[in-house]
Amino acid sequence: MRPAPGPTEAERPEGTGHAQLAEEASATPTDIEQRNLRRSDLKAGLLLCLLSLAMLWKAGEFPLADSYGGVQNAWYVSPALMPLIVGSALLILSLVLTANAVRYAQLTGGAAKLLRESGAKNVEYRVRLSAVVLFFSGFIYAFTPNVDFFIATLLFLSCFVVSFYLELPAVLRFNALFYLVSSVAVALASQVAVLEQTIHYPLDILAGSFFLAFLTLNVRMIWSERGAQVKFVRALSVSSAVTLIVVVIFKYGLLVPLPTEGAAIRGMDSIQAMIRGSR
């Protein structure tokens, strides 16, 4: 996040005439940004063209004038009307976007050259971004539908916080890969029906094992760095505390059932029953 920028209205470009495009093509400090934006416009424009064509094609299957549900349609009350309008407008604007990017590219060496260039983002940025996406995706697509929410959240938060709080690139890469492997393992194990028939809470046990492996491997990695040890303990404490607080508040305070209630949450239910029973 940069310090406060100037007024956004003043930054809006005047128009997209040739003279301005040519000016943009000469060396200025914002040239790289412009170039990156026009490259992404070219790709996005083509993608949006395809999307709008797909939208229009699908809208063609909606009843325009024939009857549906026993009601004779007319074009003006057809469910296809709005999709056709939106799809057409989107197609026109995406063509304009693409044309603008192509015109820029023609002044600066051609569209093919523009597309071949890579963006200005560095490797560390890509690794960090990929890690964030991996953590979220693994948590949402693999863990929450299959593993006890308490255990899933504990593993997610621990991996996530340790990776980004310790600020050690090696730890971040390792934990991202570790989480990816554990997500794939959990997703595959959830397809094996025989597991549920043989053991209680097999996926919770698997996730719990991954958590223990995470602890062991990370401790080994950061053992020699004193500062990192303190941060690691702090990260784990915060992750554990937040997981407990969130689960307790939502499950027992707001009475919101959690996505998957397995071994840990059943254990909490038992504790709650004992507390109630003792009163």
Partner: protein, 521 residues
Amino acid sequence: MDVLDQLGVFFTSIAGIASQPTNFLVLLGATLSGILFGALPGLTATLGVALLTSLTYGMPVDTALIALLGMYVGAIYGGSYPSILINIPGTAAAAATAMDGYPLAQRGEGGRALGLTTTASFIGTVLGLVVLAVAAPLIASLALKFTSFEFFVLAFFGITISGTLTSKDLVYKGWIAGLLGLALALIGRDSLQSFPRYTFGFSELDGGLDVVPVLIGAFGVPQIMDVLSKKLSLTKPKRVKRLLPEFGAIVKNLHHIVRSAMIGVGIGSVPGVGEDIAGWVSYGAAKNSSKNADKFGQGEPTGLISSETANNACIGGALIPLLTLGIPGSPPAAMLLGALMLHGVQPGPMLPVEHPDFLVRVTAILVLASLSMWICGMLLAPQVIKLLRVPTGIFLPIVGVLCVVGSYALGLNQFNLYLMMIVGIAAYALQQMQYPISPLVIGLILGPMADENLRRALMVSKGSLLPFFTRPVSLFFIAITVLVVLSQLPWTRSLMRTVVQSFVGLLRRGRASNPLNGDHS
């Protein structure tokens, strides 16, 4: 309801809320949470309202409204903390605040700056809701005469103007974002014939996309991705000992405050255009009209007061079209619309008919929310500031968990989590390419309204488009929309430039040839 009745309901509502410990605690807690949400970079007022929607789903409507409005008011104000103390706006609404707030903090006057923004925010909110209380019944009574023609055109106008004013790069990127929002709104069974559109056989999509997970995905996930991927290291906030109300400075800047409030309300009432633009426009207007214009950007209190008054007055402005027309004036108001509908309150022209004292209750709650914001700000600012030291690597993953639980809690539907993630990644990609997200949200929210009303209108006119151009309100909004679109086209701009230059040239020639000027050509 006449004025005396309304005043009676107003004071009764205030007394009722203040006297119930639960409501009082909810108000304080929500306002404080809002300040935290606004203060922590990466979190927004919209995300705060979205997460709170899930938490307040089971509460009575009044309590939920207290919580949501408290969060809204607190979050818009809370953005000023990091703006002033570390020169990074906590929310886009506080971007202009940093221009003079941070220089004040660097001089050791952080407490003074925060005191000014706290009081200015309070006054801005109150002035905004005064306009809301006066204007909303008038607009609602006018809106009762609107038919499907007007509502369709209004929805279309809202999406267009939002796209035009919020786009930072090419203007049609804003329009594309609005159309993408409309496209998302078309998913599901249509309301008139129940025909499944773009569901691809998934029963989860039959009911359309849930607003809360989409908004959490659009406003929460990209922020987390953006801040963590860029390895933001926030500087230590400047120390603040205590906040000082500075009533003297407020009185001295009264005319700036009133003007800023009007700017905030005006901009807030424009659909989809949020508090950030109100802050900048007000700052610019204050600078242009101030005798100390050269001191702006160096710690001039007028700049600080103007931006904060405007962005908080925007709250009242954003609620005007929301409550009277069902069209949100800003992204947090869009989330509020979703929350109200979940609680069975349908904003729009029928609101005063179905819930006659709803508007007055909202006004009363806003008064208490702004008072609560002022108290929390004055007393708890030093504690809130300590939280700015929490590293992003700790609090953003926690926000991620809250996003997941918040998206799941409303529908208890795992599919909403998948949706949140997909929308989040798409929104991040769009933001990196300088597409504004507000029009997308407005398109999603207003899409059903546009679709239904267009088809109903055409059903009435049997397919004729003529009524759109013969009905005065409809024609007015079509004309404005066309003007807005045309004004963005390069050939229109060069034509207007040529016309203006010719006109100026003619004037100069006229003055030069006028014998009374003493100039003879």
